[in-house]
């Protein structure tokens, strides 16, 4: 790796040498980091960028002493992270490092207010309760949450939760801040403001930072940007297939399966209703794969839920196979959703069943007789490369194999439309690519596919990419 900054004449805070990390799955070994070298000097702030699966979060986990590297060394403030005792590791996490997790909900305690959440890491470090409270209030004010002290995390807006996570991470004024996807889900202006506020705070605290973020304003707020390439080459096959389908996409005779026309949806928040989906219009035709690209929290899942009939629009209309969903009720709506639509989500199919049973039940829910459903299940599993695993309990399959089962469940109903909402969440990029390729093949066979993803790499496999920001859609011109 070449992401090395030689700072021999300044005090080095973070020193990563030939760092390699491998995840062992039931079927494979996944290399998350390969021989990474990185240095960070005191008070320096850097951004790490790279595609999904390039190991950004893994690097932060290792630097936060939450994971031990498979090989190589990582030291912070002269402490070898792999050689620390339990007590030293606790002390390190308490005083030297603060970590704002990518999934904000995992980094805060849901029953504590913002003020209490920031105080939690201080317990055991700052003896005086009054001082803890004062320091927490100062931090929350610095991140712009002085009016939200008594709010629970769930009562905060998405951007505010990000800010709270940063305040929690900085509670003990650590020497190093690790912030994962700190601007995810924020528009450019909001991201710029957050990074500016964070920068001011970091300067004040003289804290170094490794920030995983995106956005065009990013260079203004960090000392340097370290690209983290994917540790293995990504398969090139999808490109050729994509090129082939684009030609077909242009065929005007293909029927439109899904139409969203000026769709809006408001959701309740403590501050009042917020328009999560704002007058969105788009369509998906037979044999077409459309990707909606956007960070977490921009409204992708809400929009897909509306398209799948799981939620109702507040304005506009959604038409599936020529029938407006809002006007369909009872059995007719149920039949339309069961026969013409399949949904793939990042959730697992029922784990107590075998792969074949799990796929067959999806067909039986749509009314297919048991024997026929079992036969079709075997076909669908073969099509998704799981013929050998048909009788294996789902609980014993890897995450990637479970995702394949989810795709097989969608295919077995011969739907007109497949809606896939982050179907590869928590999977590595190679496996994710394989899964999305399966959806691509479904589209090639004539099924309309609507995919929501936060990964630009995966979105590229689609025929059209619609970028979602702040509840609005904009087609990405390629």
């Amino acid at each position: 790796m070449s992401a090395v900054a030689s700072r021999s004449n300044e005090k080095v805070l973070v020193n990563v040498r030939r760092l390699t990390h491998v995840y062992n799955t039931p079927t494979d070994e996944l290399i998350a980091l390969r021989e990474l070298n990185l240095q960070l000097i005191e008070t320096e702030r850097i951004a790490i960028v790279g595609p999904s699966g390039s190991g950004k979060t893994t690097l932060l986990n290792i630097l936060a002493a939450l994971e031990a590297p498979s090989d190589g060394t990582a030291s912070v403030a002269g402490l070898d992270l792999a050689a620390m005792s339990d007590g030293e590791r606790d002390e390190y996490r308490r005083r030297e490092v603060g970590y704002a997790l990518q999934r904000v909900e995992l980094g805060t305690l849901p029953r504590l207010t913002a003020l209490q959440n920031v105080q939690v890491p201080m317990i055991g470090v700052i003896g005086s309760a009054r001082r803890r409270r004062d320091q927490a209030m100062e931090l929350l004010a610095a991140v712009g949450l002085s009016q939200r002290l008594d709010r629970l995390p769930a009562e905060l807006g998405f951007g505010e939760r990000r800010r709270l996570a940063l305040a929690v991470a900085l509670a003990n004024h650590p020497r190093l801040l690790l912030a994962d996807e700190v601007t995810a889900g924020l528009d450019d202006e909001a991201a710029d403001q957050l990074l500016a506020d964070l920068n001011t705070l970091l300067r004040e605290l003289e804290t170094s930072a490794i920030i995983v973020a995106h956005g065009r304003h990013l260079p203004r707020h960090v000392d340097r940007i370290v690209p983290l390439p994917y540790p293995r080459p990504v398969a090139a096959a999808p490109r050729a297939r994509r090129d082939g389908t684009r030609g077909r996409d242009a065929q005007p005779s293909r029927r439109t399966v899904l139409v969203a026309d000026s769709v809006s949806r408001w959701l309740p928040t403590p501050e009042g209703p917020v328009e999560v989906v704002r007058g969105v219009s788009f369509h998906v035709r037979e044999g077409e794969m459309v990707a909606i690209l956007g960070m977490s929290g921009v409204g992708k899942s809400t929009l897909l839920g509306l398209c799948a009939g799981l939620d109702e629009v507040d304005a506009g209309r959604i038409t599936l196979m020529g029938q407006e969903l809002a006007r369909l009720r009872g059995a007719a709506r149920e039949a339309l959703l069961q026969h013409d639509l399949s949904m793939v989500m990042g959730v697992r199919p029922p784990v107590q069943a075998t792969a074949e049973e799990s796929v067959a039940i999806a067909a039986r829910i749509a009314g297919t007789p048991r024997e026929e459903a079992n036969r079709l299940a075997r076909v669908a599993l073969a099509a998704t490369g799981l013929a050998d695993q048909a009788t294996a309990p789902l609980g014993r399959l890897s995450g990637g194999e479970q995702a394949r089962v989810a795709v097989a469940r969608a295919l077995i109903r011969f739907p007109k439309l497949i809606i896939a909402d982050e179907p590869t969440a928590q999977l590595d990029i190679l496996t994710s690519t394989d899964i999305v390729e399966l959806l691509r093949e479904a589209a090639d066979s004539g099924i309309a596919v609507l995919l929501a993803t936060h990964s630009a790499v995966l979105a590229e496999i689609a025929d059209r990419v619609l970028v979602m920001r702040n509840g609005t859609l904009q087609e990405l011109r390629r």
């Binding site: 029953r111 504590l112 105080q119 939690v120 069961q338 989500m345 199919p349 107590q352 039940i361 829910i365």
Partner: protein, 684 residues
């Protein structure tokens, strides 16, 4: 914000689990409460037995002078007082001489019938304490006056202040009779005082000591008997086991007979022996229930505590990721357990206080009466439950503090991956030793094949409980097979979904399954014991108090609540762990009511199967451990009758089914709905 503040908020986070753990802890204290109830009942019963007994009487005939009388009393006191002093009063001297005939009264000559009746002249030192004066005043000084029972006086036509003159039948005509004035008429203070009861008492004049020896010297009656009576001290007898008093009475009797002081009559020994036999027979089910509840409640507390921690594990791991030391994370967990423990203990103490205030003898009355070895085992086990629970909490806190944030797995996935080790059918082999243990308890109890007392009190309790526990473990794997077979008969998507869950349900939820079956078995056994006693009230005699029924009813309720807690929480957590599964099915288009029906099939199958097996095992335990006992031809305790068994099993089944169905409905209502879709999506 502090460690305690954080603990309090975590406690509040998942109220169902916190409430469940508090209930489990309260239940865990129940075995100790049952022992106190039994102890209090025993004390009350002993007091009743003692009060009904005339105690110990030492008597000797032909004592005609004061010196011999005093010597006799002295000898008796020397032998008896040291042995029975704690359990009886100090003893009272008395004497009776006769027969006499009424020569005349101041009211005129007696009727021929009265004149022909035998009359006794008696002296009793404790007369004033044994009677209630109805007319006149009992003589309080040696003035030669007398008193007599009102009923006897009425029978003889004697009125207050009459002067009665008596003489021995063999006295020559013209001999001077002994005359006394009746200055008081009374009735016995207690009907149980057989010596004074009107219906059986002879025509008896009670006079003072001086007058008694005076009439002895003057008239020379044929018989003159001296005696000393020791009446049982109810509280003192109640404070110790009856066997202790029996032994002392036997010692005193032997000593008096060896020294040729006199003859001994005692109702106390027989009464205590009869009571002890009845108590052992009737209270054995309570002790067995107490000991059987121990493994159930220990596991229940452990399982619920583990579920409680599981629900908070992610947050605890986050604290570790923030640099909290293990000990600090443990203190958060222990603070929560401590709070729940304090709440449970507080409730138990309040209940205990209320019970103590109502108990005979106040709080001191709850202290166990000279515990038998069986009781000691039960006490140790009952007291040990909270101790073991505390140790479990510490272990869980240590375990929770070692969990790493990035390594927490989905619980149902974890279950699915670890199916193999729990699936062993080797459990079935336990049936043989379990059957042998229970059979030995049966044989020892009936005393047909084994010498009496072969197993003893402790052995019988431990053998029976061990047999029951092993039997439950042995049948669990087979239950999954039955559940799966019953699920195959159901067609439709709901049936298929239920069948998936029912496959190896009893292995995947081994702890919950064990608890459920054991709880139903104990409930069934207790219900049979209770029904047997209720349907055969004569079998227990009048000696045993209502606490026996109360204890069994409390034990039955405890077992049923334990079963419901297990059942409800197991399904609540299972449904929560299956959020992803249910979400996938709902987005497949399966209507939420259909999903609820599939869970209902799963719940009902588990409930019915658990209940059937539990009830069957409870019946087995009742057959092996509930024996009929007879003493002197009188039934003291009945073996379970067909009617009692049916009534007990019916009560357990109906209660279990009704409560289980309600709990299941509540779980389905709270856990399954379209809200899962939003919840499942947010987890991605």
């Amino acid at each position: 914000m502090s460690v305690l503040g954080l603990a309090r908020r975590q406690l509040d986070h998942e109220r169902a689990s916190a409430t469940g753990l508090a209930i489990a802890l309260v239940l865990a204290l129940l075995p100790a409460a049952l022992l106190f109830v039994e102890s209090s009942g025993t004390r009350s019963d002993l007091r009743t037995v003692a009060a009904a007994s005339y105690g110990v009487i030492v008597h000797r005939a032909d004592i005609r002078d004061r010196a011999t009388f005093d010597a006799f009393q002295q000898q008796v006191r020397r032998q008896v007082d040291p042995r029975l002093a704690p359990y009886t009063d100090g003893g009272n001297e008395s004497a009776t001489a006769g027969p006499f005939r009424i020569d005349s009264t101041s009211a005129g000559p007696p009727s021929p019938a009265v004149a022909a009746a035998d009359v006794q002249v008696s002296y009793a030192a404790d007369l004033a304490a044994r009677v209630d004066a109805l007319q006149g005043v009992l003589p309080n000084r040696a003035d030669g006056t007398s008193s007599m029972a009102q009923a006897v006086a009425d029978r003889a036509g004697i009125r207050l202040f009459d002067t009665v003159c008596v003489r021995v039948p063999s006295a020559p005509p013209g001999a001077t009779p002994w005359c006394t004035r009746v200055v008081s008429l009374w009735r016995p203070a207690t009907a149980a005082d057989a010596g004074l009861a009107a219906a059986t008492a002879p025509l008896q004049l009670f006079t003072d000591r001086e007058a008694y020896f005076g009439v002895l010297g003057a008239a020379g009656p044929q018989h003159a008997e001296a005696s000393r009576q020791y009446r049982p001290h109810g509280d003192a007898v109640a404070a110790v086991d009856g066997a202790t008093v029996q032994a002392r009475v036997r010692e005193a009797t032997a000593a008096i007979q060896a020294a040729h002081i006199g003859d001994v009559r005692s109702s106390l020994n027989n009464d205590l022996q009869r009571y002890a036999a009845a108590r052992d027979a009737v209270r054995f089910p309570i002790r067995l229930l107490t000991v059987a509840l121990i493994p159930l409640l220990l596991l229940l507390v452990g399982a619920v505590a583990r579920w409680y921690v599981d629900l908070r594990l992610q947050h605890l791991a986050l604290l570790r990721a923030r640099g909290w030391s293990r000990s600090r994370v443990q203190s958060v967990v222990l603070a929560q357990f401590g709070t729940l423990g304090a709440v449970a203990l507080g409730l138990a103490l309040l209940a205990g206080l209320g019970f103590a205030l109502r108990a005979e003898g106040g709080p001191a009355g709850l202290v166990p009466v000279a515990p038998s070895p069986g009781q000691l085992v039960a006490i140790a086990a009952a007291v040990g439950v909270p101790v073991v629970a505390a140790a479990t909490f510490i272990g869980l806190a240590r375990w929770a503090s070692r969990q790493r944030m990035l390594r927490l797995e989905h619980p149902e996935t974890r279950d699915a991956r670890t199916l193999s080790w729990r699936g062993t059918e080797l459990n079935g082999l336990l049936i043989v030793p379990a059957a042998l243990l229970l059979l030995s308890a049966r044989l020892a109890g009936t005393e047909r094949w084994l010498p009496p007392g072969t197993l003893g009190d402790v052995g019988a309790l431990l053998v029976s409980v061990a047999g029951l526990v092993m039997l439950v473990v042995a049948v669990l794997p087979a239950m999954s097979l039955v559940a799966e077979l019953s699920g195959r008969r159901r067609a439709g998507v709901e049936g298929t979904l239920a069948q998936w869950q029912l496959r190896r349900w009893w292995q995947r939820h081994a702890t919950a399954g064990f608890l459920l079956v054991l709880a139903f078995a104990i409930a069934s056994f207790t219900a049979v014991a209770l029904a047997t006693q209720l349907l055969n009230p004569a079998s227990t005699g009048t000696v045993l108090g209502p606490d026996v029924g109360v204890s069994l009813a409390v034990g039955f309720a405890c077992a049923i609540v334990a079963a419901l807690l297990t059942y409800g929480l197991a399904f609540l957590l299972a449904c929560r762990a299956r959020t992803d599964d249910y979400t996938a099915l709902l987005v497949d288009g399966l209507p939420a009511p259909a999903l609820r029906r599939s869970v209902a099939i799963e719940q009902h199958t588990v409930l019915v199967e658990g209940l059937l097996v539990g009830v069957a095992l409870g019946l087995v335990l009742a057959w092996t451990d509930l024996h009929g006992v007879r003493l002197d031809g009188q039934a003291l305790a009945s073996a379970p009758t067909t009617l009692g068994s049916i009534a007990g099993v019916g009560a357990a089944a109906v209660t279990g089914l009704a409560a289980g169905a309600t709990a299941g409905w509540l779980v389905r209502r709270a856990s399954i709905g379209y809200h899962l879709v939003a919840q499942g999506r947010s987890t991605t």
